[in-house]
Symmetry: C2
Subunit: 154 residues, 2 copies
């Protein structure tokens, strides 16, 4: 079997952890987890957004997002309301307080990102992004070739 440390999931996990290790302390100092930051960060780019769409752009599963939105709402960092023409949908936006928090964290975050870019190289970083995107695209249509399917009609 393949050398363990060379497996693709492990390489991606290790690389991501190496990056996140840089950001976590700063976020922590501002009372934010990585996922909470992702959500607030995504909210700054739009006026308002539906929960499902937010889950897509912040790359979180529904249940995780539900919990985090409940918490962010309790901390008054976001605002929620029902969609006008569909009682099922909820619309979320960042609050003034949330915006203020983002602005407090952003400088450090940007500085860390700049340092990473400096160390790794801007060109190489762009190339890495491109290759990761291509990997995603390659696997897009590869519908989980599941062995031992219990039900034939799945």
């Amino acid at each position: 079997m393949r050398e363990f440390s060379r497996s693709l999931p492990m390489s991606l996990l290790r690389a991501r952890e190496a990056v996140m290790r840089q950001f976590r302390p700063s976020l922590r100092n501002h009372g934010l987890t990585e996922q909470q930051w992702r959500i607030l960060r995504a909210l700054t780019a739009v006026d308002e957004i539906e929960v499902t769409e937010l889950a897509r752009v912040a790359f979180l599963l529904g249940p995780s997002l539900s919990r985090i939105l409940r918490d962010l709402d309790a901390r008054a960092l976001i605002e929620r309301k029902a969609a006008e023409n569909d009682g099922r949908r909820a619309v979320v936006s960042i609050s003034a307080k949330g915006l203020k928090l983002i602005e407090a964290v952003a400088p450090t975050s940007e500085a860390i990102y700049a340092e990473i870019t400096r160390r790794y190289g801007a060109r190489k970083l762009a190339e890495l992004h491109e290759m990761l995107g291509a990997l995603e695209a390659s696997l897009a249509g590869m519908g989980s070739a599941d062995d031992a399917e219990v039900e034939a009609d799945e």
Copy 2:
């Protein structure tokens, strides 16, 4: 600020998820989570190994590893014993039952990996591995440049 979807952590997360999505159903059919598989997989490469070293190679934090080992032990997939000359250390090895399980999962796992390699390209995959390793190395010495450190003596 940077376009959200272009952040490095997000790219790495999305790529990893695209890969893991392929493996999870098969592992699930065999009653294993991704982390449990990582541990058993790492144990097949050695005769026995201490817990701390296992945490390093399987890239898991101590607390996660403790919990999972407890579970794998209860399922008789691994064996545990104390180190001979140091009562603090615990030594872990895979059991015959665990080995049998690995052998049952491996073919599907290898097939999925082969398909990923075919789609993405073997050369490109190797290059991606190299770039991820370089990224890790670039950030190795970058001791969390924490802003707003509460204590000056940290």
